[in-house]
Amino acid sequence: MTSALLEVRGLCAYYGAIQALHGLDFSLAEGGVTCLLGANGAGKTTTLRALCGMIRATGNISFAGRPITGRATEDIVRLGIAHVPEGRGTFSRMTVEENLQLGAMTRSGRAAIADDMARVYGYFPRLKERQNQQAGTLSGGEQQMLAIGRALMLRPKLMLLDEPSFGLAPLIVEELFGILRALNENEAVSMLLVEQNAALALELADHAYLLETGRMVLSGSAHEIGSDENVRRAYLGY
């Protein structure tokens, strides 16, 4: 196993007075794809939000050897963590091109940014066709592609993906996950994936954790978890 890119110990997170995560421990290997599985309300989205400082969290989070617990979202992002939030969070009244520009906001170097823009358009040719269209007028699949493309513009070391398949047609989902796999392999982006669609997630991931009401109940290689009959029936529902 390669060194851990993300190391989390005793992560607790709170919404106001309500504690949503109760001491999570997990780690993510450099270059790996790890998925967080669990039912609605298990704390998957909360975990991602806690990792990038969007809600109050305690515990130890270290990213590439640096502690990041309690730091401001924009500082964490600048370290190379790109969050693709649930509901995609695109700037709906701005054009596709502007959205991608915004992804590179923390970087300097016009030429490198232009290169990356071309690369994103290479992965998502449909965004190229729509580059001057307002993001809000794109279809759900295209918006998800835009959100991922925008995250890529940061040149992230780690991408946090929150339900990328949500609300999309099966064919689009397949295409999207194919691209995610390619990104992981070609761009050396590690990924932490949150998915309701466990079968899909386990296919892409090499490691999986199972969350239940704010606690880790199981971890293992994606293959182990996916092939364990009891786990599948009890937690993954297929």
């Binding site: 969070g89 915004l102 906001m105």
Partner: protein, 291 residues
């Protein structure tokens, strides 16, 4: 006919000032969702600063640009010191903050420079290039406003910082996720609004004369312009400002009952009418929120 054209042009000239005030209001409104009542007083104070600089012997344009820079810094400081701590506070806290700012700036100006009315120079001379149709200062006002608006348009459309500021105003959460320092973008917005207000103040001062209450009515017209255009649309605010200027002038001239005295009523009537008939303004976006 000549009277009509004359009034329209004069209306466009003051309308440009209203447009600047409306734009300053909308910029802050977009960033923090509140109307800055103190916008006019900030502009008035800036105008006094430029007057003071000229008293100390600065040439007009040096004082003009120095004042813009000073106002920008002051705007940023006001946000950092007064309104950043109020982030997330209820509406009323903000309202009280604005009123306090209004009162403080107003009395401070009176304290330093006294409430006597002062004349303020115009840099545009007295000879108009268009003869009797429009006077030199009005021509200058229109020109400067247009230059300012074009510069702002270019800044917001074609610079990375402008893009970041738009993103921070449109969707703060997503903006943070791409690494934009949203708090600083809000402060920059205050700085820009203060600088735009300063330009408006310095341009209108030769017309309304310099004194601590000079911007009261101007701000009302600015509000009317912003509401007419829609508080969420900078372009709309500018058009709204120009329209208010023209409407005000035409109504004052051609509707006998209105005359000079009731001109201000037009601004208020316009605000009420827009809010009842089309609350989102001509170009604004309707905001639907879940409760």
């Amino acid at each position: 006919m000549e009277l009509f054209i004359h009034q329209v042009l004069a209306g466009l000239a003051t309308g440009g000032i209203y447009a600047c005030m409306a734009l300053a209001i909308v910029m802050i409104y977009q960033a923090i969702d509140h109307l800055n009542f103190a916008q006019g007083e900030m502009a008035m104070f800036s105008t006094f600063i430029s007057w003071q600089l000229m008293q100390w012997g600065f040439p007009y344009w040096a004082a003009f640009f120095a004042t813009i820079a000073i106002s920008f810094v002051a705007g940023v400081l006001i946000e950092r010191i007064v309104f950043k701590p109020l982030d997330g506070a209820p509406v009323l806290s903000h309202v009280v903050g604005f009123i306090a700012l209004f009162a403080i700036i107003n009395s401070l100006a009176g304290f330093i420079w006294e409430f006597t009315i002062k004349s303020f120079p115009t840099p545009f001379g007295t000879k108009s290039p268009f003869g009797t149709l429009i006077n030199a200062h009005d021509t200058g006002m229109i020109a400067v406003t247009l230059v300012l608006l074009v510069l702002l348009y270019l800044f917001f459309r074609h610079s990375r910082l402008g893009l970041a500021m738009r993103a921070a105003a449109a969707n703060p959460d997503s903006a943070r996720l791409v690494g934009i320092r949203v708090g600083w973008m809000v402060a920059l917005g205050w700085g820009l609004a203060a600088a735009i207000g300063a330009v408006a103040g310095m341009l209108i001062a030769p017309v309304v004369f310099l004194e601590p209450n000079m911007m009261l009515t101007i701000l009302l017209y600015g509000f009317a312009g912003a509401v007419l255009g829609g508080l969420t649309s900078p372009g709309g605010a500018v058009l709204g400002g120009f329209s208010v200027g023209v409407i005000e002038n035409l109504a004052g001239t051609f509707i006998p009952v209105v005359g000079r005295e009731l001109k201000l009523t037009i601004a208020l009537a316009l605000i009420v009418a827009v809010l009842t008939v089309k609350p989102s303004g001509l170009f604004g976006r309707r905001v639907v929120s879940r409760v």
